[in-house]
Symmetry: C2
Subunit: 277 residues, 2 copies
């Protein structure tokens, strides 16, 4: 694994054994698309990280230093994924956070995930619910057991991804992507104020597609004219099957992908690669 680890400003060789990231998932992360040696949506990733750090009262490393490391690790190959994990330093046994402790943070480089065999995704309705917790909603924190369990369900079902509902049967999103559905010619996406993650791709698509937030039921999603998932690594992922419903390719999804490709060179590259197949 191509990774660099720091405690505050200082490089460290390994995670300390009392790391609060491992003990309590006491941290935040960003998963970022690299294209042509840089991270096109860096500002948005940093802003979300800062909002999460404020919510968890967690110290951030100096942005300039993180940017230097991002530049160093993003260079070289033309595309890939960077993951930035920022966790609370201070250690100790017990939940009490040490005020002002310098963070332990890790930057790692990964290959782009393989496209699933089919161009569009087969999506599973997960039994695992996304618990309602407004204090943690929206931010990309490291307490992700619900998503691990939901993803295990998808694997058991032989599906590519899974959609999760909250305890009130409102649809929240996929385990590692946000959901957009087209109803009456308008793109809708679930709010992320009670649970869910405020995805960076989602935040870019909301104005780009003139989309609106709306609580959605399972029945509404299955009745939609078109459905896609999205995240900052893969962009827009059309959904082909979900529960009892199948969708053929849809002009509105193609249009959304073209619009997204215009604002992010990585997704432009993906579309060109797909067309060459």
């Amino acid at each position: 694994l191509n990774a660099r680890l720091f405690h505050g400003a200082e490089p460290i060789a390994t995670w300390p054994s009392d790391a609060r990231a491992a003990a309590y998932g006491d941290g935040l992360f960003e998963t970022m698309r690299v294209q042509d040696g840089s991270v096109p949506w860096w500002d948005a990733h940093w802003d979300r990280l800062a909002r999460g750090a404020q919510r968890l009262r967690l110290s951030l490393p100096a942005r300039a230093q993180v940017e230097d490391e991002v530049a160093a690790l993003a260079g070289g190959d033309s595309d890939g994924v960077l993951k930035l994990l920022v966790s609370r330093g201070g250690g100790g046994r017990g939940y009490a956070p040490l005020r002002g402790a310098e963070s332990i943070w890790m930057l790692s480089r990964h290959a782009l995930p393989q496209r699933p065999p089919a161009a569009a995704l087969r999506v599973h309705w997960c039994e695992t619910r996304w618990a309602t917790q407004p204090l943690l909603a929206g931010i990309k924190h490291c307490n992700r057991l619900e998503q691990v369990l939901a993803r295990a369900e998808c694997m058991d079902a032989g599906m590519d991804e899974g959609l999760m509902c909250d305890g009130d049967e409102a649809v929240v999103g996929a385990t590692s992507a946000n959901l957009f559905v087209s109803i009456d010619g308008r793109w809708l996406t679930p709010p992320v104020d009670r649970c869910g993650i405020a995805g960076i791709c989602r935040s870019k698509l909301l104005p780009l597609l003139d989309a609106v937030e709306s609580r959605l039921s399972v029945a509404q999603v299955e009745a939609s004219a078109a459905v896609f998932l999205c995240n900052a690594v893969r962009g827009i992922l059309p959904v082909a099957r979900l529960g009892g419903r199948a969708w053929p390719s849809h002009a509105a999804v193609d249009d959304a992908r073209q619009r997204l490709a215009r604002i992010h060179p990585g997704f432009a590259h993906d579309i060109q690669s797909t067309e060459r197949l």
Copy 2:
């Protein structure tokens, strides 16, 4: 930190940088009281760990090896705390758990925590709610951001501990202890089927005190004749103040402590130490 780390049966020097414990809190832990070189409640801790592992479909290390390491680390000083953390191995980026991957596990030794200045605890009603998630309720998993946030509240309020409610305003328990209240001469403790942790001390006290599980409101707790918190490290901790209510010492709490001391040498030792003060 006196710690030993393993991947499956093999000792390893440090956490791998792609550890799922740090990435997702994808693990379980036990915090155990050591007395006279052994862990008196070891069987109960292992059983809860095994239940958690079944729920998360996580591989456990071989019990015999863990017991050898526990014995090695528990020996020496007469009392202390052992922490066992078992996390899903396999790494990789993404939530999907690798089926059957050998666990990464850590055993660490810690000093007994200091008693708070006052003999009985001053307890805060936390604003942070404990989210309802039956799939994770009861087990002692490593997704503990809610407890970290709740404990930060207690520190801000200058209090020793905090009681948390769920989203329906039912009392769940303290951030790192279970709650027992005496109402009409009977000990009651909240159920842990929707959220909360099934504490080992709680499980020992339920039959010992002929206690029963009961959903409790804030008003019921404050109207109780006596209140204590309990966990496997400190045993029974009397509550002196909570919200607007104060309790003097109570014979029923003293009686419960004496009963507990008869089944665990560590808590017998604690009572003797307190009496010597």
